[in-house]
Symmetry: C2
Subunit: 426 residues, 2 copies
């Protein structure tokens, strides 16, 4: 059976076209919101922009250990012409000074202390000489607000601190705490269903009978989904029979935001998966076959549900194909579905760790096909080399031995030994 997409297209498309077709049809809707404590907010995406309810700091604070002064009192001070000031108090941390200071007066203050009324600057200890317990000589002038953080200097009341769609970093948790916001509204994490298919697949904790193998792709996917900020939901191992697959897929669509089916490396079962996706709802299969290696038999569909469109992927059964298809298609999609609005200033910055290396051995590729080659690294003669890990994409060991991948673009017919490549690290 050849599955055609809703536009009557069939056959293999490029990676770029596959993504374009998917995003053309997928109407992204806002994820539901939930409230979390900022302590649990790391990596979560803000459902709304957050403005500060207060000025930060809420009072003028000293940035030095020293003496709070009226700056005008110090103008003209010098080693040769020190200014005498009366020490009228010692400001305790966490309190407001109990009285203002007048002309010619000062108070001792520590870093972070609140400036007394009447003062507008702090003289560092190094620039003041105690004469006795009640007076000091200042030997250097301070400008108004020198060594002082003024009210609202850090964050102004009403100022937007974090944008809607921002993914929370540790310092963001800190900033919200500092203005008293301890609970925030975030987008719910996308729930991603995993359906393992194949008559030969048995659970990983069971003993396979003759001709059977253990389910393993679902564990790879579980890890990849968690890394991408989604919530993996395993739907079990389903036989390659239309009715059972269709029923499981329907159930997954009803309670998940995205569905990944894995298995079916043979032509017959791959087509079965595509047919089940196509029949599950409109628009059905959009892409069946992408000119990438590994991953060519990939099917991408979109199925309507009461809670919006649910993307469904029919992933090839080979372990390396699962990883590559996830990285190329599923991870960026999950990122969009999470509600994240990427920081525009990071546009063009790869969202993963990369390193430049020289290819240790030439690799051939077919024009029109994008190859994702698993590599390991080695340092030789002070040069970092990327060495392809050989083995069929069906071997899990090649993925375990690799530390990353190198892409041969569809426009190239290969990469020569010694050429510089960018390794995308796992």
């Amino acid at each position: 059976m050849t599955v055609k997409d809703m536009l009557g297209r069939s056959g293999v498309v490029s990676r770029e076209d596959a993504l374009k077709i998917l995003y053309e049809h997928f109407l992204l809707s806002d994820p539901p919101r939930e409230e979390v404590s900022i302590s649990e907010a790391l990596g979560r995406v803000l459902a709304e922009g957050i403005s500060s309810p207060i000025n930060l700091p809420e009072f003028d604070r000293s940035t030095m250990d020293g003496y709070a002064v009226r700056s005008t009192d110090t103008f003209g001070a010098a080693e040769s012409r020190p200014v005498l000031l009366a020490v009228v108090g010692d400001i305790l941390m966490g309190t407001l000074p109990d009285r203002p200071i007048a002309k010619g007066e000062t108070m001792k203050i520590a870093t972070g202390g609140a400036l007394p009324e009447g003062s507008d600057a702090v003289v560092m200890f190094e620039h003041a000489q105690p004469i006795n317990a009640a007076s000091i000589e200042v030997v250097k002038p301070v400008a108004p607000f020198e060594n002082v953080v003024q009210t609202g200097d850090d964050i102004k009341k009403g100022e937007l601190i974090l944008n809607r769609g921002h993914r929370m970093r540790p310092q963001d948790m800190s900033a919200l705490a500092s203005v008293g916001i301890t609970h925030i509204s975030v987008m719910r994490r996308p729930r991603v269903a995993i359906i393992s298919t194949g008559n030969e697949i048995v659970p990983a904790d069971s003993v396979p009978g003759p001709g059977q193998i253990r389910d393993s792709n679902s564990y790879n996917l579980e890890g990849l989904i968690s890394q991408a900020g989604g919530v993996p939901v395993k739907k079990g191992i389903i036989r390659d029979e239309y009715a059972g697959l269709r029923e499981t897929l329907n159930a997954a669509i009803s309670d998940s935001d995205l569905v990944l089916m894995t298995g079916g490396s043979s032509v017959g079962t791959a087509d079965m998966t595509a047919r089940v996706i196509n029949d599950a709802g409109h628009p059905g299969v959009l892409v069946h076959g992408v000119s990438i290696r590994p991953g060519k038999p990939l099917a991408i569909g979109l199925v309507g549900s009461p809670h919006g469109h649910v993307p469904v992927f029919g992933l090839p059964g080979h372990p390396a194909a699962v990883s590559i298809c996830f990285e190329i298609f599923v991870r960026p999609l999950l990122c969009r579905m999470s509600g994240e609005i990427p920081n525009p200033i990071l546009e063009g910055v790869p969202p993963f760790r990369t390193i430049k290396a020289r290819l240790a051995r030439s690799i051939a590729s077919s024009p029109g096909r994008e190859d994702h080659v698993r590599v390991t690294l080695e340092m030789r003669d002070d040069v970092l080399w990327a060495r392809p890990v050989f083995g069929a994409s069906g071997l899990i060991s090649t993925l375990v031995k690799a530390v990353g991948t190198v892409v041969i673009p569809a426009t190239k017919i290969g990469i020569e030994t010694g050429e510089e490549v960018e390794v995308r690290l796992f």
Copy 2:
């Protein structure tokens, strides 16, 4: 008070020396182990190497849809001289063929199917012509084991799959599942106590009185610790008084693997923190003052406990100093304490995401001091520029606006506008 380390040293040391002193004194001990399901093992560190209890695959499998054959039967086959074979069965997935094949016989097989006894290769569908339901003509020869993954080709029985000290990635979860290992022994995550100090600090969810501010550093640390694979344990906000700090530190040492104290930006409270660390146990404070900015007042100590040495950090109170000191000192230490044995082939590869940019504005630095400058990025005339975010290290907003940091090494007195820099992204 000047705190001296156990060797009588005092004063500010370089970043490199601070790390050297710490690692010289810190006898790393193996973390306790715990057992986890492979589904929960992402990012965990293996407490022991794992070898395969089986050959993978456990039987010879086909890598193609086609016909299982005796390769010798196909030798000499060509379009002009096809070889006739009798189709004696159709191999069902997940079963072993019920009979061997003899000379002149074949069976239909799908990708992943088990080869029947007597066969040693698979002819692709494309190279076979069905004559009738019971026979085919093969038009191209296959070599022995062509289109076949032999028993143990992926992973051999007894082969080491993953090393002790390896940090689990998604594909590793998959590899273990495929050989039937579903529970593994991992190192317990380091427990990291956070003690907030300062008489002016109140909980983030309370309303500060005059001169008070909210605890915020502990939230930054909570996020940083989680990112680094540790378990943050908040020990509350403690006043700057010797007895209370000492008691809280003792309690933290008894049930944590590492302790972070934060606050005390004033000279007096910073010294108090260092004194409490020094008195808590042998060897006490090792470093007090590091020539980095921000972060200079950092104190690093080591305190003996019944469960081994516990590193204790007296972190400066400024938000940016907290982040920088964590990145430079705490994150790499936590990595070692987690039991991780870094993959030697990734030696020299930064463990964080970096990008090259040109500095948008020159920055001056003092020789002998390593500066960590917060920057944001901008694309202008097709060039990526790193622009310093101005503001004192006491301002949390500078950390929120920044997307990473640029380091000015201690050997330089600054970086000029337009110079290429490496930005470490948050």
